[in-house]
């Protein structure tokens, strides 16, 4: 640090100097550029991921449709459920960034895109819903397979069912 003799005028505060202001300007530019670089890279990676993810989902649904046994179906369903969980975690992590704005819009919207964000949220929600329904279907098997002997109809019950059907339905026809 330099010394100043008593009686000499105090030099100007260097934090008010043009060199300091220029430094701050360049420093901010540096930080902004680095953040922007990170944001753009994140966006780029996400867009690449998103296209892969869409293709993956289309293929997964096709394979689910093609599955011929419960085991095959469950295996594929587990993959879908896991993907949904990971996506849910990602969306949770992105939550705090929603308050930041970037280029005139929310940072998350900029990174992902409003429509893509909506699609991902719908995917997570729909998969959770499907999972609940899957659980109910599995649960009913117990009731189904343990009551086989009790649910067969006798011949008279079969006739009664048909008669009741005709009695109830025909007066109300036509209805699609």
């Amino acid at each position: 640090m330099g010394s100043v003799a008593y009686g000499q005028p105090l030099p100007l505060d260097p934090t008010s100097s043009s060199s300091f202001r220029l430094f701050r300007l360049f420093e901010r530019l540096l930080v902004w550029a680095r953040i922007r670089f990170v944001i753009e890279m994140a966006r780029l990676f996400f867009l690449g991921f998103y296209e892969d993810f869409r293709r993956f989902l289309v293929g997964l649904e096709r394979e689910l449709d093609r599955s011929e046994t419960e085991a095959q179906y469950k295996l594929l369903w587990a993959i879908k459920a896991e993907a949904s969980e990971k996506m849910d975690v990602l969306l949770d992590h992105l939550g705090p960034l929603e308050h930041y704005r970037y280029k005139g819009q929310g940072l998350v919207e900029y990174l992902i895109g409003a429509q893509r964000l909506q699609e991902l949220r719908l995917f997570v929600k729909a998969t959770k819903l499907e999972g609940e329904a899957e659980g109910l279907i599995d649960g009913t098997k117990v009731a189904f397979v343990t009551s086989l002997a009790q649910r067969q109809l006798t011949e008279s019950q079969r006739i009664a069912m048909l008669e009741k059907y005709r009695e109830l339905v025909e007066p109300l026809e036509p209805t699609p």
Partner: protein, 264 residues
């Protein structure tokens, strides 16, 4: 536009709820079992089950509605039948919701419900309907040690695409198929549907005709047909859907009958 319902009714009342009970005439009382689009103006029809007296009920998944006084002959005959409570409506005591005879009624026919079923009744109806349309295979039936083996495979399998009532349909009735019921629930097939509903299941992967691009099973529009008529017209069947598509159809029906709230 739906080709089977080209002239839908004007917008119906939006106050129809799952569990509402309506009287349409003498000995014609129905309970709304649909929980999917009861409040939608776009859908003029809603699935309802008839309410039958004790002497007319015969299926193990029928749901007992009342806690009225009953004699020994009125005891539920099957383990899955349940005694459940209902608001005190004397005319409905000792009656059953007959889940084997569900049909679609016009919303405009349903005015001023007699009563609304107790939530416990609706829980049982929902559960039994899920059981009815759940996906079961011969493996499920033969692998259970608690059962005597079935006498043989059913004469008609769920997922069979065939013709009934002059149109292409898909058999969706697992309970009815495996129990050889004389009536079966089927859902219509539609080609290149425009007014898609979340309950439509696309089966193009499995079933594609020469001229269409996409085919859908419209689970939301299922109806009953006489089993004999299907068997007469389905030899050999046009196609039997694979397990995965059947699972999606079952899932759609689970959502239709009572898990819609999960979406909210």
């Amino acid at each position: 536009m739906n080709p089977w319902n080209p002239h839908p009714d004007p917008p119906a009342s939006l106050s129809i709820n799952q569990g509402d009970i309506f009287e349409l005439g003498p000995n014609s009382v129905w309970i709304v079992v649909d929980d999917f689009h009861n409040t939608s103006e776009r859908h003029p029809l809603v699935h309802c089950a008839p309410i039958l007296s004790l002497s007319d009920a015969f299926l193990p998944l029928d749901v007992y509605l009342s806690v009225g006084v009953r004699g020994p002959e009125a005891q539920p005959r099957e383990s899955l039948q349940q005694e459940l409570s209902l608001p005190p409506t004397p005319s409905l005591r000792g009656s059953y919701a007959e889940l084997g005879l569900i049909r679609r009624l016009k919303k405009t026919e349903l005015h001023a419900p007699l009563a609304t079923a107790h939530p416990e009744v609706m829980n049982r109806i929902r559960r039994n309907l899920v059981t009815w349309f759940s996906l079961f295979t011969m493996v499920d039936l033969t692998s259970s040690v608690r059962l005597s083996a079935p006498t043989g495979p059913p004469s008609l399998f769920p997922g069979t695409i065939t013709r009934a009532e002059g149109r292409l349909v898909c058999v969706i009735d697992h309970w009815g198929c495996f129990n050889s019921y004389p009536l079966l629930y089927v859902a219509p097939l539609e080609t290149d549907a425009l007014d898609l509903c979340p309950l439509d299941v696309e089966i193009t992967e499995e079933f594609q005709d020469l001229f269409s691009k996409r085919n859908f099973v419209r689970t939301d529009e299922f109806f009953l047909v006489d089993r004999n008529r299907i068997e007469a017209s389905s030899s050999p069947p046009i196609r039997v859907l694979r397990y995965g598509l059947l699972r999606k159809i079952s899932r759609a029906l689970v959502l239709k009958f009572g898990q819609k709230s999960l979406l909210l």
